[in-house]
Amino acid sequence: MRIGVDVGGTNTDAVLIDGARILASTKQPTSSDVRTGVAGAIAAVLAQAGVASQAVRSVMIGTTHFTNALVERNSLDRVGIIRLASPSGEALPPLTGWPEALVERIGRRLFLLPGGYEVDGREISPLDEAAVRAAARALREEGVTSIAVSSAFAPMNGAMEERAAELILSEHPEARISSSHAIGRLGIIERENGTILNAALSTLARQVMASFVEALVDLGVRAPLYISQNDGTLTSSDSAARYPVMTIGSGPTNSMRGAAFLTGLQNAIVMDVGGTTCDIGVLAKGFPRESSIAVDIGGVRTNFRMPDILAIGLGGGTRIHLDPALYTADRLDEGALRIGPDSTGYRITSESRVFGGDTLTASDVAVGSGYASFGDPLALPEMSDAVRRTIWSQMQAVLANGLDVMKTAPGDATIIAVGGGHFLVADDMPGASTVVRPPHAEVANAVGAAIAQVGVQLEQIVDYDHAPRDEALARLRGEAKAALIEAGGAPSSFEVVDVDEIFLSYLPGRSAQVRLKAVCDLEEAAGGEAPAAMADIHHAY
């Protein structure tokens, strides 16, 4: 049995799953104390299903903690930034193009040191070990423990970054090092940006992961803990503590994967309606379509794999702006009505009319129109059918617009409506051929976390004149498989989901940049013993 948890800004959702069967689910307000919030949600599903905590084989958690920390610029560490590429790159130092407010939080402690590789694998310059040691000592004296290390062409060869990390630790044993080769793909600025963001999250990541582990210990759940990543795959909590930036954006991915699982549909458009927004994404072969454009996180350009999501300002708590004097009108003039984009957010349960508040929300209109039933319908203001229909159809038009933008084919699309506000997507929404509303739609994100696979993406430049293409791809496939088995994947379920080759222009011969992405189902531990990964987690904090 598995537990999936989604810790959002508003709600914490949890589900208990046995094979493909959902035994229990819950949606609770997110508490400010991570440990008790997660423990409460897990305890709720265990109690609902009458299952003992020892029966749980794995726990998967998706969280927005790190996204929020970066967007709100809270709980960030000061970062020492070491780039190994000189003399290359001095014209474009780290942090170029960053928002000044964010730079103020993390500091501007830069070391541009010799090192890095050329595209053909030669060194740009040899590593200056004394200079790396000196930088480590300086940072130690300044009390900076979070350190980002990047070097040119590190995704092809991470050896120099690894050597630098050894040297730093020998001078500065407290250091927490983020290495770029473990974080990003080619494109040193974007990869380095991601590495610096990751380093800035070091302390928070350890605290959050420790809280998750404590929550499991509190409940007596002795099962490995996995954390959702932005591409919909899982990583160990130990790895997430070191690479928190890889978890950013996992929420929408989990919703979409959950929607695919709950409906059995592989190709559809998912509309995930929360309290404030409707996130629209495209499922292709069961996975979210990835964004083709660079992804900004907290104003910083990165090149992470992210789902292509269109967020529309319409959710269950969205405010309906209309003069109450017009509630009973026969018709509404153009401009009398405005839908959002502001929302009551998590205060919907106290501020909206059906919950006794005095703010008219999208949910109120849905309840009043018979599309949803919760709260107290008698608390709704008197409203004419014409006005109610106008508001409803205007909300459908807003959603239909978003749907149209995301559509990949002409004609009507199959829609999967999920999230706590899924009832806002009408069955007859313009542009939809069918609207599928699976059971447990409101906790699709937690379902997506629970059923996620382990994944890996490798990226290398291969010279096909020296290594025949088949051999080179087979070698990459082997490396991917080994990495996934290491991460707890079942070898029999290993699958390569994407191979992307870019032949490098101007270079002689047949050189290509190859990206290989592979996934595995998680091996469910057979016995009651926690796998080795769990023991590591307890030692790590």
Partner: protein
Amino acid sequence: MRIERSALPDLAFGAAFLGSGGGGDPYYSLLLAEAAFERSDGFELVSLDDVADDALLAPCGWVGAPTVSVEKLPNGREAVDGLRRLETLMGRRIDAVLPIEIGGSNGLAPFIAAAEMGVPVVDCDGMGRAFPESQMAIFNIRGLSACPSVVTAACGALSVIETDDNNKHERIARALSVALGGIAHMVEYPLSGAQAKATAIPGSISTAIAIGKAVREARAAQGDPFEALAAAVEATGLYPHCRVLFDGKIVDLERETRGGFSVGKVTVEGLKSPGHMTIEFQNENLVAWHDGVLRAMVPDLITIMDSETADTITTERLKYGQRVKVVAAAAPAQLRDAVALSFVGPEAFGYETSFIPVEHLNPETRS
């Protein structure tokens, strides 16, 4: 004319469009230009008309693989090293610089060099777009010599190329860039103000800025960025015709390396347009067919853009599933005469068809 900092993203956007899919993503060039802007007293752009006939002008830019340029970043000394050596070779000071090609990252590069050298950038370039090889520059087409030419790299290495054969110059420069790690800075085709007035593509930098500005303003006003783009491209008369040819989604992509170039074909399936559009490229997009019917060909510009944001997608960033619009624009007149077409027309890229202007292939198309 002083270039404001706010004009730099506009220039990057316009240069990306004029790159016709090639020339590399200008994002890093933009960051470099912004960093250089902060360090300098600002950038100065002068009209080609205002350049003295006896001025010495130096076209410059980066030569190499776009994929390398996003990993091995410049040191910052490369352009100045090359320009100073050119001054020594020519026995006089350089009066101004210009981009060898406006398209892609090279459209911004000369501003950084100019700021360091304390000279202005001339509002013109050598290609009016991007091309894969140096000898496709208008300066070669009009019979000027590429040499003396100086190739420099981040490590401080400097090579002077002296040959009176511009094709040989291109081959040597290409080999040097590979030896230097896949990317190098090159100063080439040094020319007088009078020669530039007779040959260069005039006004291409200010046109690129105007294109970027128009699209930025259209986005801010929630307008159609493609309408704004087409209007701005046509406005200066340099690119007299611009239309969206096709609207769809990438359903097939073939790419391989041949003769040191990225050669391939992309197929776009219609979403709002019927049928399929196929585009062949060699670093830059070369020819576009709609269900087998020719719709645009080199040297006219063919640019594939994100259908939502109107951002240019360079050929190395094309990806299965992307939703795109294919936009074509008439090349500057200088590239369309018989002599120029023998260097940069479809036959020069191995096609058997003769050049037909995009406005003749698409008389009715509206954006």
